[in-house]
C-alpha cells in the first residue's frame, strides 16, 4: 500500500475530489496547510503599506491506495490540479506498513 500526499491550490480541491471519485477512490483526508516553494510569497496592500505573505494557503490531500493503483491516482490528481501556473503544488508518494479499520478490525487492503 502507498500513501499519496498531494499539496494543491485550495480552489482545485473540488476538481481533485471529483477526479478521484471517478476512478473509484472512496475516501481521503484533507487538511488546510500553509507553505511555500518556488512560488514564494505574495504581497497585500493595506493603506499603501505592502505586507508580504510568506506562507501561502494550500490544501493537502492524503489518499492511501493499493500499490498497483498509484500511477493512476497520481495521474488523476496531476490532471485535475494543474493550472499550468506557478504554485500548482507537489505530490509525494510513500510506503504504508499497515492499515486498520477501527470499527471492524479489518486490516490492510480490506480496510482501505
Amino acid at each position: 500500500m502507498k500513501k499519496i500526499e498531494a499539496v494543491i491550490k485550495p480552489f482545485k480541491l473540488d476538481d481533485v475530489k471529483e477526479a478521484l471519485s471517478e476512478i473509484g477512490i472512496t475516501g481521503m483526508t484533507v487538511t488546510e496547510v500553509k507553505g511555500y516553494g518556488r512560488q514564494q510569497g505574495h504581497s497585500e496592500l493595506y493603506r499603501g503599506a505592502e505586507y508580504v505573505v510568506d506562507f501561502l494557503p494550500k490544501v493537502k490531500v492524503e489518499v492511501v491506495v493499493p500499490a498497483d493503483r498509484v500511477d493512476e491516482v497520481v495521474e488523476a490528481i496531476t490532471q485535475a490540479a494543474r493550472t499550468g501556473k506557478i504554485g500548482d503544488g507537489k505530490i509525494f508518494v510513500m510506503d504504508v506498513e499497515k492499515v486498520v479499520r477501527i470499527r471492524t478490525g479489518e486490516e490492510d487492503e480490506e480496510a482501505l
Binding site: L45, Y46, R47, G48, A49, Y51
Partner: protein
Amino acid sequence: MKIVAADNVFIFVSTAFVLLMSVPALAIFYAGLTKVKSMLNTIVMVMVAFGVVSLLWLMYGYSLTFSEGNGFIGDLSYLFLHGILPSDPAPAAPNLYHYLFIFFQMTFAAIAVALMAGAFVERMKFVSWIVVCIAWATLVYFPVAHWIWGGGWLSQLGTLDFAGGLTIHETSGLGALVGALLLGRRKDAMMLPSSLPLTAIGTGLLWFGWFGFNGGSALAMSAQAVSAAFVTTIAAIVGGLVWMGLEWIKFKKPTSLGLFTGIIAGLATITPASGFVDIGGGILIGIVGALVCFWAVVYLKNRFKYDDSLDVFGVHGVGGMVGALMLGFLASPDIADTKGLLYGGGFGQLWSELVGIVVVGLYTVIVSYGIFKVVDLWLGLRVSKDDEQEGLDETIHGEKAYVKEY
C-alpha cells in the same frame, strides 16, 4: 427662549447616535483592522475609554467645560451636576433640557478620548491606558472644549468649530501621534486586518452616527441641522471615492480599506465646517480631505516611521485641521452667519481658524507629551515583548476573539 419639544427629540436621538459611534462603531472599525490576537483588547480600549470619560464628565468634566470660569477653564459650580434639575433649560442652549445637553456633550467628550486608542493598539498596558484616559480628558479635552464651545478665549476670538474638528479630531489625532511616538513601534509594525468586513460595518455605523454628531451639533431641529447632516454625507461619499481612485492610480488596485478610510477622512474633515458650508463646499472638502489625509497616511507616516497604527493622526488629526482651515474659505452666508474668504468675508474667519488650529495643536502636543511621559515613568506604557507577540487578548483579558473547540 422656551424648551422646544422637537429640538429635544432630535438631540435625544442624536445622543444615541453619537453613543453608537463609540459603542460599537469605532470599537469594531478599529478591531477589524487589528491583528486577530489583539482585536478584543482594541474593542475594550475604546469601550472603557467611553465609560471612564463619561463618568469624569458627570463628576467634573461638564463643569470644567461648560461653566463660566475664566477664558481658560470652567469652574466647579456644576461639580457632580450639583443643583441641576432634569426640567431646567440648558444655559448654553435654552431650547434644550439641561440634562439632555449634558448627556449629548458627554458622548462627545467620551469619543474624543476613545479615538486615540487606534494609535496604540496591540502593545499598550491596559492600566496605563485607563490612566491616560483620565489625565488626557482632564488636561486636554475639557480645557480645549471650554476654549471653543464653553465660552472660553478662542470662542471670544471667533474661532468656529461646528462639531469638533479642533476639539475632538485635532486633539485626539495629535494626542495619538505623541502617544504613538512615546510608545514606540510594534515589534511587528504592520496592519494585518483581522476582518475588513467588520471594518465595513464600523464605517457604516460611524457614518450613520455622524448624523447625530454633525447634525445634532446645531442643537436644534433646524435647517442648519439638516444641511449639516446632508453636507456630511456628501463629503463622506466624495472622500471615499477619491481615496479609492488615488489608490487605483497609485497602486493599481482599488482596495476596500481605501474606500472605508476615505469615507472616514471625508467625515472627519467636514466635521468643523459642517454647519457653515453648502453642498458645493461639502464636495470640495471631501476631495481635499481625502487628498491630504491620503498623503499623510501613505507618505508622511512611512517617511517618518512613527507607528500610528490605525492612522488616528493621519485621518482624524489631519482631517480635523484641514476642515477647520477650509471653513475659513468656504463658510457660506446662506447657511449661517459666517462669511468665508471666498464669499467676501475677508481673512478674518480664516485667521481665527488658523490661530485656533495652531494654539490647540501646540497645547495638545505639549500636554499630551507630559501625560504619556509621566505615565511611562510611573507605570510603563508598553506590555512585555512576549505578551505583545502572544497577543493582548490572551495575555491581558484571558480570552480569544474566536475560540476553536479543540
